[in-house]
Symmetry: C2
Amino acid sequence: MKVAIKEDILKEEDRIGARNREVLHKHGVTAFNLIGSPGAGKTSLIEAAYRQLLGKAKIGVIEGDLASDKDTVRLKKLGLEALQINTGRGCHLSPGMVEEALSDIPLDLIDILIIENVGNLVCPVSFHLGEEAKIGLVSVAEGDDKPTKYPLLFREAAVVILNKIDLIPYTDFSREAFYQGLRVINPTIPVIELSCRTGEGVGEWGEWLIGYCQNLYERMKPENGN
Amino acid sequence: MKVAIKEDILKEEDRIGARNREVLHKHGVTAFNLIGSPGAGKTSLIEAAYRQLLGKAKIGVIEGDLASDKDTVRLKKLGLEALQINTGRGCHLSPGMVEEALSDIPLDLIDILIIENVGNLVCPVSFHLGEEAKIGLVSVAEGDDKPTKYPLLFREAAVVILNKIDLIPYTDFSREAFYQGLRVINPTIPVIELSCRTGEGVGEWGEWLIGYCQNLYERMKPENGN
């Protein structure tokens, strides 16, 4: 019985996620679910995206944290539409939490919604919040073995961002070991190496975001010439 | 009904945790539940403890990971009794998993059991696996705001280990901000700053472990002089 209830809950969650996606589509918003460990640099990555896409696309943000509104304050200062969700003891954002948040975000004013999940490489991967793609973020300081030890995210993400490459000289991080481990889990996933701190590589990150959205619009456009 | 079932499960988990603790006491083993983000340096911290306590106390390890036995192989090479638990999609070790593992570890040969939980600052905090104390591990590279954003662990742990202090010059980590945030959550918790990579501070970590065990034995000893 326990199992049946759990499955019912998961199915209901999936339905809410699908509904969120419809709402987002209706407003022409492409959503991404940003997943990474605590301190991998999720908020910095959003700040970098905002700067890269200035004048090209408007970004809105849903911030998931157990407690505090530090990140939302930080993003709002920059001029982004940002909304905080505090999960208390919750280890991930749920589709229901995002559904509620969507009614408070001015969706007609944004093109891209980045949902910054709770810092956690495990639980957030299992929930579809309404996003088009999951973005897997990992930092050099976490070591080169994360794809091997936390394969779920690296299997499901559309792109891997390797942040804090400026720390490589000061750590034992091996690029060879990282890519070897990642390729076993996901042979084709693109990787963008960058440092939000120094700015190296962030241009490529902005281009990836824009490129992903453009490809999506192309695919969704009704056929011409009829 | 959902809530009632969830509470029943949690109570049953607590019972197993208490049973694990009894088994450990019977064999004179003190257990610690080591909790930190992915890549915070949990396995390196155990290696450091092993080296510090050589000739003083014997350490055994239960390794929790979603996948792979990399860490167990690494620890066994060093000469430790180590046992791997792979949780699959599970975001934390459960008391039941540890119960099973305890029957496979030669408890009479060890004094201290370190249970390395799945890399996660949220879910592992809610489960008592049979340990005397939780050890909260956080690395400089994760930033100085972790206590504010993930208060659960910092509220419940017996000690905070701040790892990778050798990276402070290359990051924006502020000791002042870190301690300020931590003291709001937990005004009295001891903090050990160290770098498993350079060895700085690891002596204090070894002394804390030994000291904690000695205090515990003192408290548990039957009154003398009767």
